[in-house]
Structures are given as C-alpha cells and as structure tokens.
Symmetry: D2
Subunit: 294 residues, 4 copies
Amino acid sequence: MADIGFVGLGIMGRPMVRNLMAAGNTVTVYDIVGTAIEEMATEGAIPASSSSEVASKNPLIITMVPDSADAEAAILGANGVLEGASSGSIVIDMSSIAPASSQKIAAGCEGQGVDFLDAPVSGGEPGAIAGTLAIMVGGKKDVFDKYVDVFAPMGNSTYCGDYGAGNTTKLANQIIVAINIAAVGEALVLAKKAGLDPNVVFDAIKGGLAGSTVLNAKAPMMIEGNFNPGFRVRLHQKDLNNALQTAHELSVPLPFTALAQQIIGSLMNEGKGDADHSAIANFIEDMAGTKISG
Amino acid sequence: MADIGFVGLGIMGRPMVRNLMAAGNTVTVYDIVGTAIEEMATEGAIPASSSSEVASKNPLIITMVPDSADAEAAILGANGVLEGASSGSIVIDMSSIAPASSQKIAAGCEGQGVDFLDAPVSGGEPGAIAGTLAIMVGGKKDVFDKYVDVFAPMGNSTYCGDYGAGNTTKLANQIIVAINIAAVGEALVLAKKAGLDPNVVFDAIKGGLAGSTVLNAKAPMMIEGNFNPGFRVRLHQKDLNNALQTAHELSVPLPFTALAQQIIGSLMNEGKGDADHSAIANFIEDMAGTKISG
Amino acid sequence: MADIGFVGLGIMGRPMVRNLMAAGNTVTVYDIVGTAIEEMATEGAIPASSSSEVASKNPLIITMVPDSADAEAAILGANGVLEGASSGSIVIDMSSIAPASSQKIAAGCEGQGVDFLDAPVSGGEPGAIAGTLAIMVGGKKDVFDKYVDVFAPMGNSTYCGDYGAGNTTKLANQIIVAINIAAVGEALVLAKKAGLDPNVVFDAIKGGLAGSTVLNAKAPMMIEGNFNPGFRVRLHQKDLNNALQTAHELSVPLPFTALAQQIIGSLMNEGKGDADHSAIANFIEDMAGTKISG
Amino acid sequence: MADIGFVGLGIMGRPMVRNLMAAGNTVTVYDIVGTAIEEMATEGAIPASSSSEVASKNPLIITMVPDSADAEAAILGANGVLEGASSGSIVIDMSSIAPASSQKIAAGCEGQGVDFLDAPVSGGEPGAIAGTLAIMVGGKKDVFDKYVDVFAPMGNSTYCGDYGAGNTTKLANQIIVAINIAAVGEALVLAKKAGLDPNVVFDAIKGGLAGSTVLNAKAPMMIEGNFNPGFRVRLHQKDLNNALQTAHELSVPLPFTALAQQIIGSLMNEGKGDADHSAIANFIEDMAGTKISG
C-alpha cells in the first residue's frame, strides 16, 4: 500500500478517495472547498492546505477536477502540484479534459522530472462509489505499468497510448454516447407519433443491430419521462466542447457531433444542465410536439 | 405444416423459402425473374406463373419484394395477389417498405375479406439463411396469434402493433443503426488522427456506455478497411428514405436521420451502393483526409 | 387579347385573373370552391362547372393550384383539363409543384397534342395583386415564345429550360431563401445575445457581402418580432419537400436544405404554419433562449 | 493630419498604410517580418524595431494581425504596444478576432489609461487597396467620435457598440456569408443535375427574394469553376471558429454555422485553404458527383 496525494474532492473525488483508503492506502487530500477537506478528514484522510503541500508530502499525486483550466491551475499553477513535487514524483490526472491540455501538463511535469499519466474515467458517481470506473490511461507505457495497481481500487484501467490518449479515448466514447442518445430519441419519437408503444419497439429492436448499452440504459428513461441524472447534460456539453476543439485543432470535421453539441446548448438554455444526458431526446420531442412517455 | 405461397425470390426470399420447405411446408413460388422460379423449383418448390396464381392456390401468401411500389404492385396490382386471393386468405408482406404503404395494402386486403400482416425483417442474408431473422409484425393481434408459427422457420417474430407497425419498428431500428455507425465513424476518425490505435480505443470503450452491437460489428470492419456487405448502403438509403417520408407525413423532424441520409446519398454518387453500410464512416474519413484503417 | 381559361381561384389565382381581365382578356374560371367562382363572376369572369368545361371552351388554360397532386388531378384527372382540351390547346400550369410532376403532366398533354408550360411564380400575394410576379417557365422554347405575352399582365417571365425547368428554378430559389433566412437568424441571435443592437448590426452589414434581399426584407421583421405573412411557413415546407424529393430522385445531397426542412417541421408542430417564413429565425431564438426583438 | 503607428504589414496592412500616407499622415510601421518593414520604408513609412517602439513614438496605434493570439501578443505581450504606450494613447485593433479577445485587450488598455477600439474590416485586399473597406467599430462612443476621421482613408466606418461589438458584427457578417454561399451551392448543384443551365437559373432568380451580393459575386465563379481568391477559405474558417467559440461562451446554438464549419474543415483537408470561400460549393458538388461549371 502507498501514500497517495489527492487533489479534487467533488462528487467523483470523494468516493474515489474512500475506495483508495479502503484498500489500505494513506491519502492526503486538498480541495478549494474547505468543507470537502474536513469531510474527508473525518473519514481518515490527512488534510493539506494546498495542492503544493499535497505534492510535497506524497510522491504519487492524483488530481480530479472539472475541466482543462482547473487541471492546469491545480498542477501547473501557483501553489500547484508541481511547486511541491520532486523529481521522481508521479502525477495522475483523472480529470476529463482536452487532450491538448493533458499534453501541456505532461510537458510541464517532464520539465521537472515528474512522471505523468492522464487517466479520465467513465462510469459516473455510481461507478466511483462502486469502484468500477472504466479508466482510460495515456502516457508512457512503462509508467503505466509501474502504477497500474494504483487504479485497482477505483476501477478497471486500460492503456490507450501516449500523453493525452486517455482523454482522446474518453472523447471518442462521449461522441458515440451523445449521438446514439440522439438516434434513440429520433427512433422512439417517430414510433410514438406513429401510434406505437415505445416499450414494444424497444423490446423488438434491442436484440438486433440497433442494440446498445445506451438503448438499454436510456430508452427506459425516455419512456418513463425520467431524466434524473445519471450523467449530466452540462458535463456532456463540456466533453463535446473538448471534442470539437480537439477536432478543430486536428482538422477533423465531426458533423454529427457538432449537431449534437448545438442541441445540448439549447437544453442548457432551457435550464436542463443538471438533467440526465438522455434529455437530448427532449429536443427531438419538442421539435415533434410529442413525448415518448405517457 | 401448411401450404404457403411465396412471391419474391431475391437474395432474401430464396433462403426463406428453403427454410419454410425444410420445416415441412409445401411452398408455391413466383418471381418476376423466371430463373429464380426455376432454381427454387429444382429445390422442391412448386412454380407458379403469377402472383395471382400463387394466391389462388394457397390461402397463405408471403411477399418479399424490394420497396413500397413493388409490394403494392405484387399485392394490389394487375395479376397480383388480391386477384387470386379469396375471402379468408392471409397475406403476410415481409418486405421492408413505408408504413403508409403497408396501411394501403392492408386496406385493400380488408376490402376483400383478406387478412394482412406487415412483417419486415432484420438480420440480412445471413439471418435469412440461418433462419434467425428478427421479424417485426404489424396488424391485428388475433391474426398475428393465429399465424405466429408460420414465422418460426425464418426467425423470431415480435408483435409491434396495428397495420404498419412492423415497418415503423423496422424504420426505428434503421435510424438508430445508421446514426450509430456515423457516431462510431466520427469517434474512430478523431482517435486515429490524434495518433491513437483505433483497435485500442475500440477495446477501451466497448464495455461501457458507448458499447453497442454496431460498435462490435462495424468498428472492426472500419479498422480493417473492409466494407464488404453485410447490409448494403443502397438498402439503408431506401430505409431512411421511407423513414424521412414517414416522418414528413407524421410531422416528425429527424435532424440526425436527415443528415445521415444526405451522407448516404453522397456514398451512392461515389458508387458505394453495394458496400456495407459501415461505409458511412468513409464520408467522415474523406472529410478528415484520414483512414481509420492502415 | 385572348380567351383564357383559369383553374384555381385561391389567394394567388384571384388577383391573377383580375389582372388578366384588366388587360382586356376574357377569362373563364373554375375552382373546387364554388364561392370563389361566384366572386370572380361578379367581377366579370365567366363561370364554368369543371376544369374540363373550362378547357373545352378555351384553347389556352392556366392552372394555379396548391401542390403536385392537385395539379395532376386538375389536368390529368377525371373532369380535368385534358378531358376538355383539343389538339392544339395550350396548358400553362403556374402552380409550384415538383418538377417530376410537371414532366408527368407534360407527357399527358403531349399525348393529346396539347402544348404545355410549367410556370411557377414568386412574389406572393402582393406580387400577384401588383402584377409583378417573377414567372419561371419550363417547356419548349417555341411554345414559350408563342405565349410569352400572356404572362405580361401577371408579371415578368423568364424561360428556364425544358419541361419542369420552371419548377426546378423555383425550388432553387426557395432553397436559397430558406437557408439565408436561417443564416440571418443565426447572425442576429448571436449579435443580440452578445449585447448588440440588431438594428445597428443590420445597418452595418447590409451594404457588404452579407447583403441580400432576404436581409433587407426579413431582418426588420425579426427585429420587430413581426411574423405576419408574407410567404407562409407551410408553403415553404411544401417547396422544400418538393426540393428534397427532387434531390433524392436526382441523387443530390442537400445537407443545409435538409436541416432547414427539419426546422420548418418543428415550426409547423408549434402551430406556426401560417406565420411568415422569417419565423425560421424563431427556432434559433428558441434554441438560444433569446429574442432578436425587444 | 496625424502621426500614426501601424503594426502588421500583411496583405491587408500594407495597402492600408499606403492609403493612410496618401491622405497625408506620417506612419511608423512594424511587422514581425523585416522585409515588410523595409518595403514600406521605401514607400515613405518610418521603420520601427518593435510594437513597443511604434507605440512610444505615436499616441495613435493601429494593429492589423491575423488572429486573437497575435493581437493579444502584439498589444499585451512582451515588447508589445502597451509597453510603449502612454496614458492618453489610443489603440485601434483592426484585426478580425474573437470579441472576447477584444474585450481582454480593451481591459488591458484601460488599465493603463489607454483608449481602445476594435475595428475589424470586410472588403478584402481589393477594398484595402481601394480604401473602401467596411469598418465595424466597437468601443466607447466618444472615443469613436474622436477618432472617426482616422478611418476615412481606409474605408467607411460604422459604430456598432461597446468593446468587441465591431468583431461581433464582423462574425454576424461572416456567418451569413458562409451559409449563403452554401445555399447558393445547393441550389445550383440541384439545378445543374436536373439538366438546367445554371446561368439561366442565376438570371431568373437574382432579382427576387433569393437575390444577394453573395449570389451576384459567387454564382458566376461557381459557374465558371473559378475559385481564385477573393476571400480565402482558411480565413473564413478562422472567422467561423471565432463565431462558434463566441457562441459557445454566450450559449447560442448555431446549427447552420456549425455545419458550414465542418464543411470548411473538409475543404482545408483537401488543400483548398487558399481557394476562394465560394469553394464551399465544391463540397456540395462532390457530394452530388456533379460540377456546376462545364
């Protein structure tokens, strides 16, 4: 077991810390929200007063923050991880951010002789609590091999390639999920307005080529009209924004992703940022003047 | 076992007839292509010289033809099924056509006291050969119950609702499949141009929310650059055309389906009508100037 | 001056008849709505009891009906124009319909030795009243030359090509108009939500490359929040439907037109079918949660 | 007449400097490319060795650089304008950049008591040479009024609103232009594949609601197959990127702009970055397998 520093105690970070402690690790924690530090301290974590302090006391630091700018600030910024880290330390950023940002952070770490992995996750809060996150890892293969066991209490890790590859893989995942939700929405709205029972359609097609984890997970929510998260619209917006920015930098046109992102923007303006991302179907419902549910 | 009339001996119809005969049925066949009749006759089918004759000799008639106009001609037209059918006969149209066309045919049948089911299939030629088609059935529930065993040698049938519901369900299926193929294409093109190995991305995401039958079946084809059908682009174009026309009649906007259909139109113009529908990814590849394979 | 038969006395047909009469022509009229015939009779037109009768009494027949099916019924159908027309007659269909339908009607006419022109108009009710319609004409050039003076009281005619070319030109026109309205909507919504005065933006850009008749005519309506027709959303839907169907038959992908049509479908579902087509901007406004006006 | 500092001597900056000198101003110039400075010096400009030096010697400084990062570097960065400027100086940035970047630069200027205007132009190299640029200006109204005569030798200026409003107006302009080019492309490709002469269609519709400066300027280029710039695809990509980023920050969905941008990305990958932006029609041509020209 190891001493681990952990920066970022949000809805994902807290259960991840708990699982790391439950596996016998000693975890030093920091967050910009003081109460989050206190909460974890009562559960056995060691409180720190800055990311820099976390890094100065632990050679292995995990960061789990909202977006690219937060990760860059927490690691490269003032009082950040790199101010406290020493040559030979390892930083594992588990935030879902733009691959180019991961690469920038990696360069900053390498400049100080610090190892780096980008390791975003999917599976959401339930996966974080259950320790069953899918962890997509980018960085040097030998570094991944050296630290692969660190991930085990949090979920299942896969090596995806060089710096940024974890986040690129995450974006690929999120592209498919968003567009497939839209596809399921279009299919069920058409069926409903044609007078069919969407449950019957769901049962009829789920075993064939239209079958998917999205269909199994989200069609029942659309049919019930239940859009409680789950994975929030605002987070999917962030991910698709990172996908489209990355695509722009790489000159990769993504017409379906771009359309999905405009629709998510409309949902945000309707105040649905905290709805489950299956609410993408609401946009199609509104266009058709028909609800899949009811 | 029963006497069955079968009209339409194409790539799907022939193996369906074989499975019906193998199950002990006596099958009388007709096609507008004479050699197809001869071929099935050598295998034990009884040849007929028109759809009308097929219907006059069999109270149960299955039709399996390319599109709405063909089905209407074969059933409602001159020398068609209804010219030979008697009150109490049953027509099962297994063609993939527009639901409105199924409803028109149903009305024609009802006008002569003939029962009707629309029963399009998915699963393609392999499913037709193996007798494992997914059969989506619309019509009167008691009629479905009376004839459900007829479908067993060809695949697995599901009752979907009133006249046209089988074809509406098929269209819902095809909408999801086409858009999900596009989604997988966008994800893998982005990953490839970012320098990742698409096989690694595929392995990393297939177990999560991005997982689907399309991903499992089509990502490997995209990665190999193998677009041998499978299900042909031109048939998917026909299905999406029926979907968009049905959606227009029902006033259901389908922005992703509409975009997918424009892209399929481009593939048709490139001479890819007989490629597998996973070639939808080719359009994204061409936009990006990058191949997922190689 | 001439004897002219005129079938179709709607919002467009009535002022067109008035202008033909004002120019000294004798006009015999028919409509499926009897009161429209009576109204025109009080103004000096000769009433007839069918399209066939109109044609039997006049060698020159103009038709002006809503869509393809109406035009085919009025000309090719029972009691239609061709039942009354003689060899040497001329049918000028001024309805806005699918080019393929014009070609079908042309073939029917040719089969009876009757000349045919398709001659859809733009300019709407105001143009019909003022006699300033833009008239786009398809058919044989010598036939156009022979009858070009007939159009003069109604507007300005242009020869566009063979049968259907008038309607194809009209569809090209409607594609540009619909998409350009959407473009103006996106530009003004962005400007408004950025805090600018849309009137100032309109003034700043109207003289440059963004300038257009649509911008001049529709931006002020969007800025006032005035969506009184003008040209109705439901008619633009009909035109884009004909455009997309024609495009499908010709294998021409039209991704922007397809997107515009899905949006118009949404407006129809909101009950905006009789709003001016500048209401396409409402869809963008709703997505953004911002009004250009106010 | 005045002493003016001018930073940025590219394809636009050089003729702008010439017009300023021709109007009697004394112009001190800097560019990161030394030969551009030398060229202008031979024409009578005073060479400087940095943006800072330009600003230290002139209280009125104009900047004209490619994009947001360049403008921020030239004005806010090391050896930049603000290092040399004094309280009471005025910076006029005529670059086409993101409005948020203009606002950031404005804040930097205000922090040093320096006035600021963002004043992007349209009209391209021909307009720069002729001194007929359309200049869209953002900033304080009294500052605009004080310096409005400065713009006169370069073109016609319009006050658009507070900081960034000039660039927001420019983006609104570019949105309309890009989408309208696509619209014209779709219309002419459809007409051509339907067998019509696109010149005839152009003539028939240019006087009506489809008429626009884009139609008049770009349809003839598409019909000739001449895509020599004019305004380059790569610059329009930059502008739409700024538009989409601005829209994302303001939560304004722009579905047509997003689609146009994906298409421009595809043109870039085909090596058409230096073609005229009317090449957007090439994408529609390629989808249809048809050329408007020839």
